[in-house]
């Protein structure tokens, strides 16, 4: 599998364990970018010459790929510059309809990208923000949902999968509770997508957001999916070329969704690269890959359990989590740990992982994170466990 990822193929000594930050790019995605830029590069949407038609078709067919990946319709797919931009889009476009008295529910487990936009919405519109707490095992405390959901709750905006603990949200329970108060449900899928295609219909949610760079695709592109009925009525967020009907000094009319939300020249080659990555992913045997990822994760958790003074954040069970494992080592700072690991070709990240509320809830200031993707193998896990023992020696 590593041979399909040019960077990993070129650096055989590298144990890349930071896919939760950015996954490596698949060669198919890189080739697609290259092919597009050298064979079909033009602006989209308005040109009638052959190159522009090719660019248009490539871009719209990328939309179709993204839709298939989520089991959605193409006209429900908005291309953005990333998950963060997608989440801000919802906070502005959906948020514009909210006012004092309305409530939004988020959780302590959110990445800042699904937390700060709601803090900002609270400042802008005077809504109330409810915060679902974590259980000590890192799972969202869904038992608290009934008391935190109100008739005024308009949106439940939760992570699909924590970028720190790997905890996977019980979506059915969330949707069920949210529907009871008539709230819409947004899932931040940034961490979920690299572990396989998703089904927004089966989940029964309303919004889904993710980034290309976390699913083996180029950076600079992301996806917001929203139910057609919802998208149809939302006001635009960014203004600019392509999202309007008529424009004059008196105002402007809106283009239809999804164009209404794609002001300006979109990331065309990046969307084409994303589609190549998603198409490739859709051809994989995910039940098998998920089992493999879970096995590696279990092996990692087992090994970490045996390291003295090491504490894993969240559950020690591999079955209710994605293969993202963060930990503390008594008396050792994550930066120092990562530095020593780097000397052995182990690429891990230490810090607050843009999840300060989560770290605060777990009583941690910073932690070290190992995240596994489909290209990781048992040797990567073994090297990490070795490396951590070594780091403890070097640093103490």
């Amino acid at each position: 599998m590593k041979s399909e990822f040019p960077l990993l193929a070129a650096q055989p000594g590298l144990h890349y364990l930071d896919s939760a930050a950015t996954a490596q790019i698949h060669r198919g995605a890189l080739d697609a970018v290259l092919r597009h830029e050298t064979g079909s590069r033009a602006n989209v949407m308005r040109g009638t010459y052959a190159l522009a038609e090719a660019a248009d078709q490539a871009y719209e067919s990328a939309r179709t790929s993204a839709a298939r990946f989520l089991n959605a319709a193409a006209d429900e797919i908005v291309f953005t510059s990333g998950a963060t931009a997608a989440l801000n889009l919802v906070a502005h476009a959906f948020g514009a309809g909210l006012q004092a008295g309305d409530r939004v529910l988020v959780s302590q487990a959110e990445h800042h990208s699904n937390f700060v936009p709601w803090l900002m919405l609270r400042e802008r519109q005077g809504i109330a923000l409810d915060i679902l707490p974590l259980r000590p095992d890192g799972q969202l405390d869904l038992d608290r949902l009934p008391e935190l959901l109100h008739d005024q709750t308009r949106l439940v905006a939760l992570t699909h999968c924590s970028n720190v603990t790997g905890a996977v949200t019980d979506v059915a329970a969330v949707v069920d509770a949210a529907r009871r108060v008539g709230a819409k449900v947004l899932l931040d899928g940034a961490q979920a997508v690299q572990h396989g295609p998703q089904d927004v219909r089966v989940m029964g949610i309303d919004f889904y957001a993710f980034s290309g760079h976390k699913c083996f695709a180029p950076g600079g592109v992301g996806v917001l999916w929203a139910r057609r009925e919802l998208l149809r009525d939302l006001p635009p967020f960014h203004g600019g070329g392509g999202m309007v009907g008529e424009v004059g000094p008196g105002g402007f009319s809106w283009a239809e969704a999804p164009r209404r939300f794609e002001a300006g020249t979109p990331p065309i080659a990046q969307a084409v690269g994303l589609a190549a990555a998603l198409d490739w992913m859709m051809g994989l045997d995910w039940p098998r890959l998920r089992m493999r990822e879970a096995e590696l994760c279990a092996r990692l958790l087992d090994g970490l359990h045996d390291i003295r003074g090491l504490r894993v954040l969240g559950s020690m069970r591999a079955d209710r989590r994605a293969p993202i494992v963060s930990f503390e080592m008594a008396g050792l700072h994550p930066h120092d740990i990562c530095q020593v690991l780097d000397a052995r070709g182990l690429a891990l990240r230490g810090g607050h992982h843009c999840a300060q509320p989560l770290l605060a809830a777990l009583g941690v200031e910073a932690c070290t994170r190992a995240s596994l993707a489909l290209y990781n193998d048992a040797a990567d896990v073994a090297a990490l466990l070795d490396g951590l023992r070594h780091a403890a020696k070097v640093l103490r």
Binding site: M45, R46, G47, T48, Y49, A50, A52, E53, D56, Q57, G242, V244, G245, E246, S253, A255, E256, R259
Partner: protein, 145 residues
Amino acid sequence: MSGGEELYQQAIKDWAQADHGHGRLDPADAAACADSPLCGDRVRLTLRLDSGRVAALAQETRGCLLCRAAASLLGRRASGMDAAAAASATAALEALLAEGRDAPPAWPELAMFAPARSFRSRHKCVLLPFRALRQALEGVSHREQ
């Protein structure tokens, strides 16, 4: 870079030139305005109806030759159509453009648009007047992207 000129057969130029049904009916029983914000084409249709069928159609069209030829064709041929007929003509035109189907016996003139098949960005130019007619007859709004 291929065969863009075949598009402009004499038939298309003649239909566009003829501009059948140009104008506006006032009063009208139904009306629709379909535009393509991205290319600026616009078709304004006004209709007189007789038990749900077109008794008279007038069109004001701003657009390219393809769009104008299609509008002019409707200006000549729409009489007697009801919503179902408009839907089926539109579907036939869509199938002709997207799937390479032949023009249906009821609409032999649609064949003149066959060369537009390979130019996807132009399909909407041809379709705009037909979509406007459906919109007027079905009373639903439609705006082409």
